[in-house]
């Protein structure tokens, strides 16, 4: 099982690098796999990944968490408020605590009172937005370096590592432009360049989640609360307690994601989350309610965002279009084999349109890259939703002793 899994992972990584490499070679745009791009993509991806992970915890216990956005907002605020006064680590802690408060509120509303989870989540988003804007005006307006909509700079910083002995030679190798080898070098070097301790913590949280939820008794009980709480209850699982714990922990993770954002931009700013909570939710669905797929989805958002924002020569978006076309071609070809003809033809058609666009236009507007991750998510959902398997009792209110 583990052997199969690691083989699949290596296969997927190999395919991904090959596709990136082909695109990089055709476009001769080194940015696509450069050290800086990968390092920055990790920074952009981490908060989204944390939101997605937060979604996994709540929904695996059967509670849909639309309030992720609100909990993230609370996290950004907590980090700005505490970080400005007591340093970055205090900021991280406060972000987690503030997020947990949001989670607790959702748990009270949905688990204790059984109200509609989407509505409760929406209310929390509204509440978090109002509260943080309100407090920002009260607490930051007269603070030195602060303003009505932003906190003073966060004091101190979270350690960031660069391993020069790895980055320098690998970056040099990346400059060589050798097929596959240079791209792999750029990707690996990206992992050792400006690597924040918070990113490492994020990765560890993903590993921890995979382990706890799928390999321990606690995880089994938690997931049983999301699959069939009535059966779980009959076996003696304290469903309500598990749901509470899961949703509060979900809030903590979302809060950490928010704190990450504030730390990365060194201040709290109104609207800094910019819908990343919702995007995290999308990556969770994209990843079939599992950590691996969620991380991949978050990485896609982070990667596309990075290329869009560092696009100096206006060529990155063009490269992305080609990359997308190549990926679609591969999926289309694979689907032809597995007899999903209609979807396959659709993909191949779309891919050829994109290839045509790539060769006929000199550059593309950045808005294409702006919407690309959302369109990708929709495409994935449209083609794979039959294969996705959300927890069976996701979103269903549960009350001990009451039938559904």
């Amino acid at each position: 099982m583990t052997y199969l899994k690691s083989r699949r992972f290596i296969g997927a990584a190999f395919t991904a690098i090959t596709m990136l490499s082909i695109t990089r070679t055709i476009t001769s745009n080194g940015d696509l796999t450069s050290t800086v791009t990968i390092a920055q993509a990790l920074v952009f991806a981490s908060p989204i990944a944390l939101a997605g992970l937060a979604g996994i915890w709540a929904e695996r216990a059967g509670v849909i968490n639309i309030g992720l956005e609100g909990m993230m907002i609370l996290g950004t605020f907590g980090a700005g408020w505490a970080g400005w006064q007591w340093g970055a680590w205090a900021g991280v802690l406060a972000g987690i605590v503030f997020g947990a408060i949001g989670g607790l509120l959702l748990a009270v509303a949905t688990v204790t009172f059984g109200v509609d989870q989407i509505i409760a989540g929406t209310a929390i988003n509204l509440l978090a937005l109002g509260t943080t804007k309100f407090l920002a005006i009260l607490l930051f307006t007269n603070a030195p370096g602060g303003g009505q909509a932003q906190s003073p700079p966060i004091k101190g910083e979270i350690p960031v590592f660069t391993v020069d002995s790895i980055v320098t030679p690998l970056s040099a190798l990346h400059e060589e432009g050798i097929f596959f080898v240079s791209d792999l070098a750029g990707l690996v070097a990206g992992l050792f360049y400006n690597m924040s301790l918070l990113t490492i913590i994020t990765v560890l949280l993903f590993v921890m989640t995979g382990y706890v939820l799928w390999k321990t008794a606690i995880g089994l009980r938690l997931r049983s609360a999301g699959e069939n709480p009535w059966a779980a209850d009959s076996l003696g699982v304290k469903v309500v307690q598990y749901k509470y714990a899961a949703v509060v922990f979900s809030g903590m993770l979302a809060g950490l994601g928010g704190a990450y954002l504030s730390i990365a931009s060194t201040i709290y700013r109104n609207g800094n989350t910019a819908g990343r909570g919702y995007i995290g939710l999308a990556t969770m669905i994209f990843g079939d309610w599992r950590p691996g797929g969620t991380a991949a989805g978050a990485m896609m958002f982070g990667y596309i965002d990075t290329l869009r924002l560092i696009d100096s020569g206006n060529q990155n978006v063009k490269g992305l279009i080609l990359l997308g076309a190549i990926i679609l071609l591969a999926i289309g070809a694979w689907m032809l084999r597995s007899a999903k003809r209609n979807a396959a033809i659709g993909f191949l058609l779309l891919a050829s349109v994109m290839v045509g666009a790539y060769f006929s236009a000199t550059s593309f507007p950045p808005e294409v890259a702006q919407v690309a991750p959302y369109i990708t998510t929709l495409l994935v959902l449209a083609t794979a939703s039959q294969n996705l398997r959300p927890p069976a009792a996701d979103g269903v209110p549960y009350r001990k002793g009451e039938d559904h």
Binding site: A109, A123, N125, L127, L129, K133, Y374, A382
Partner: protein
Amino acid sequence: MNLRRIGTSLIAPAIGLAVSIGATALILIAIGANVITIFSSMWTYGTSPRAMTLMLNLATVYFLSALAVSIGFKMNLFNIGVNGQYILGSLAAAVVASNLQLPKVISITLTILTAMFVGAAWAGIAAWLKVARGVSEVISTIMLNFIAIGIISYLIVRTSIGTETSVNIRGTKLIPESGMLRGSAFIDPGTKVYGFFIISIFVGIAYWFLLNRTRFGFDLRATGKSATAARTSGVQSTRMIVTAMLLSGAIAGLVGLPYLLGQTGSYNLQFPTEWGFIGIAIALLGRNNPLGIAVGAIFVAFLDVSSGQLVLEGVPREISTIMQGLIVIVVVISYEVVRRNQVKSEQRNVAKALAKQEVSA
């Protein structure tokens, strides 16, 4: 009996209101403000003619947004995509209206139809994804919101649809006066109540009629109550989902029009993009009933408008957003508590009746 039902359905909003006002008062005390001064200044300003006009205008927008959401709610569909549907609808309407030189009635009709069509089409994508591909409308409409923002930013910044309407603000060409619906200043001499106010009342009536007096409305509500029961009685649930989603999108398309035709005359990048979310809250407060929604919309608009005055008292106006969030959460919780109590008392009554029967037998 009926009176009692009305009574119980009012309990929850009343509790919600009381609790949230109480909580707001606590927040105000905590920050050292004088609660009585603040509430009375909100009331004094909020009931002034100018504020009443602004309130009606905002309520018109909220009302339409909540209607759009609530038609989905009736079917257990969550249209989180009202934002995307109305910004695209408003943009399309602005483009069409700015190119028309026709008599007012025709011009406005065309503008409205455009907005409804575009809103419905955008919602239609989510509907198709749901019925044909099994994608939850919650997540697809959220994605579509982000895509809509991208499309609009592209069209306005990079194509000839956008021009420099005022300094450093790009937007669509100004709509000629013949295409505007500015309304009349019948409350405050200085500010006009949007012309769309009247139209939104008609939309509300049409909504009520459609849902409560037509076969379609019956099927819709039946499917929402129990999809399986509706299916057994011959209702095609996929068709109902598509129709409900399209209708919701069509109404959503109208949300930006009161402001577009009554105020700006141009869709620019400063056009509000978040009116859809408040619609969710108001649809809840109004329990998906057009009259309830109207009251909810006016109330929330009152909070929004009158809180603008609070800056003078040193209190951030965001207190109104906090209040709205609190109201929603407390109201849904109290609905649930009231419902549970009702179920309990019904069970008790049944048990009592049964016990009596047994005794007499």
